[in-house]
């Protein structure tokens, strides 16, 4: 795991600064009163919004005269709809990108010009089944040869009844509703091939549905057992491989109507997506990605495994055998032929929102050298190039949250810069528009495999909440301007505050209170079914 505990960060190798006052990493999370211990506090207190710690440091200027580093994923552009919320699944076909979204239903983009992709159609959802204002689909399974796509709804607070629905997309600008099926089983991922649908239905296992041309789709078979936890299917000939959550990877013989379980391979994490390329199944399984030899589906074997830095949610094979993975925080790429699945690229998906990006899905079009990624607000297009030698910037923590700090006092947090790349990483400077935020040192050089610490100080000149970005100017070709969220004096309960008492009832009737949790570390995860 990349992220170390704060207390261990200072033991990282390769700690270096480019010179200057040299108080690097003298404190973490410390605070004090007065002007602080470095010139930066005074600079920041002037409130001019400049954040680099001027001190005695002379930062090198960016040198663009040499041979540029390669950029394995070249960001072409970002496009969004009127009120886009959450692209959940996407599949490209040539220059068209089909996606399922949380509130705009089935959407289709024309990405001929990757820098300026445009919506061909949006808000497509089956009448009477989808929410009338916020149609939603979870996953899609195209059969482009037949000009059809099936979309799914797993059932939640917004659209309570699960369903799947078939569209004619021979004219992508006007998808025609064909027929659907409302189910009791919650439907997640789906495969459509020649009028037959195999749907992953969580604990209801595999549901087989046929399009017989009538008024509705027809369920013809199913398979489930106590271990069923089906999320995403992938069909190869007469074998269906299914990523099945905490159960792992399962293989089914689908040569007949009834799916017949061939084998189950337990995997670490929770398996959420699978693709199969040349008899190797690649699985996205939360904290891991895995390669599994499936040449004999009755006896699957792990041949590659890697713990990832993000959370692996979806994957696809790009050019040069680069396994591309949507990891919530970033897109990362791995050498598909390396047993250790060596990381070969990491790409922050740029977002204009204050949030950090949620990269939930991606799709590669190797024939066109294109990669598409879906996030919270938009669709991104990339050109994929050959993986090249380059520096790589990684910063932890991903955001700097200063506690409530009074005027005249300060708080320090440490930002650790790591370089998992192959060339020296240079941070040429740091800047933001936030009042009273300074960085010491403002520039660092980090060798491949090394790390350096930058001390970020918050010395507010008013009680006003501060929320913004710290921008690091780097020589990472992917991220020449690397941003870290910074906040301070935010209203509301925050780190360092006592959590207010609560008494809540669990689904099984058990009562939970803060007092009951005393003496334990507790994780409270607030989320929603939709």
């Amino acid at each position: 795991m990349v992220h170390g505990r704060l207390a261990t960060w200072f033991g990282l190798v390769g700690l270096s600064a480019c010179g200057g006052s040299g108080t690097t990493a003298a404190a973490s999370g410390s605070s004090g009163a007065g002007s602080g211990t470095s010139a930066s506090a005074t600079d920041g207190a002037q409130g001019d919004g400049a954040t680099a710690d001027s001190g005695e440091v002379a930062c090198p200027a960016r040198d663009d005269t040499g041979e540029p580093f390669g950029d394995a994923l070249e960001h072409l552009g970002r496009a969004e709809g009127d009120s886009f919320i959450e692209i959940l699944d996407m599949v490209a076909d040539g220059s068209l990108v089909y996606s399922c979204t949380a509130t705009q239903g089935l959407t289709i983009w024309d990405a001929t010009d990757g820098a300026a992709a445009s919506l061909v159609v949006e808000n497509v959802g089956p009448e009477g089944l989808a929410h009338p204002s916020f149609p939603r689909c979870q996953h899609l399974g195209p059969d482009f040869g037949a000009g059809q796509v099936v979309v799914t709804n797993r059932g939640d607070e917004i659209q309570p009844d699960p369903w799947l629905y078939l569209y004619d997309i021979s004219d992508p600008s006007a998808p025609q509703p064909l027929r659907g099926l409302q189910t009791t089983a919650s439907i997640e991922g789906v495969v459509l091939d020649d009028g037959r649908i195999w749907a992953a239905a969580h604990k209801s296992g595999i549901v087989v549905v046929d399009d017989t041309g009538g008024s509705a789709l027809v369920q013809v078979a199913s398979f489930s057992d106590e271990a069923s936890d089906a999320w995403a299917p992938f069909k190869v000939g007469t074998t269906l491989f299914v990523a099945e959550g905490t159960t792992g990877l399962r293989a089914y013989d689908i040569s007949g109507d009834e799916p017949a379980l061939l084998s189950t391979l337990g995997l670490p994490g929770s398996s959420k997506d699978v693709i199969v390329v040349d008899d190797i199944a690649y699985v996205a399984a939360s904290a891991h990605v895995l390669a599994v030899d499936v040449s004999n589906p009755s006896q699957m074997t792990i041949v590659g495994q890697r713990e990832v830095r993000g959370t692996a949610l979806a994957l696809d094979m790009g050019t040069d055998r680069t396994l591309l993975v949507a990891e919530w925080d970033e897109i990362r790429g791995y050498d598909a032929d390396d047993p250790e699945l060596r990381e070969v690229l990491s790409e922050t998906v740029p977002t204009e929102a204050a949030n950090f990006t949620r990269v939930l899905t991606l799709d590669a079009e190797p024939s066109a050298g294109r990669v598409y990624a879906g996030e919270w607000r938009g669709m991104h297009a990339y050109d994929q190039h050959e993986v090249a030698m380059s520096p790589e910037v990684v910063a932890t923590p991903g955001s700097l949250q200063f506690e409530s700090t009074a005027v005249g006092e300060f708080e320090d947090l440490v930002l650790v810069i790591r370089n998992p790349g192959t060339e020296d990483l240079e941070i040429f400077g740091a800047a933001s528009g936030l009042e009273g935020v300074t960085v010491d040192p403002p520039c660092v050089s980090v060798p491949p495999g090394g790390a350096a610490a930058m001390e970020v100080r918050f010395t507010p000149i008013s009680d006003a909440p501060q929320r913004g970005k710290l921008i690091l100017e780097t020589n990472d070709p992917d991220e020449p301007e690397f941003s870290v969220s910074v906040s301070g004096n935010i209203v509301g309960l925050d780190v360092g505050d006592p959590n207010p008492p609560f008494e809540l009832t669990a689904l099984d009737g058990t009562q939970w209170s803060l007092d009951d949790l005393k003496g334990q570390v507790a994780v409270l995860a607030y989320f929603a079914t939709f």
């Binding site: 505990r5 797993r154 939640d156 360092g496 099984d508 005393k518 570390v521 607030y526």
Partner: protein, 84 residues
């Protein structure tokens, strides 16, 4: 381990959350409350109230608060607090 965890839903019905539990096979406790908005600070300026991840230490003090899921940072914080 000394670690507890729960998923909290704001404003959703017992039936919906029960269905979610059955669909997804989650094994940690799922708790119901009226709302999740407005209580915690939002340093990220999020456009959605979800998710909110809170980690509290053995004394009940908030030691981690994010409106965006960051698995690696959460793992790191949990390891640190369990070692304290």
């Amino acid at each position: 381990m000394g670690l507890s965890g729960g998923g909290l839903f704001g404003g959703e019905s017992f039936a919906t959350v029960s269905a979610f539990r059955d669909q997804t096979n989650v094994t940690f406790p799922l708790l119901l409350r009226q709302t999740v908005s407005g209580q915690y600070a939002d340093p990220d300026g999020s456009i959605s109230p979800y998710p909110i991840d809170v980690i509290i230490d053995r004394e009940g003090t908030i030691r981690y608060l994010r409106h965006e899921f960051d698995a690696a940072a959460m793992r790191s914080t949990i390891e640190q607090l369990l070692a304290e």
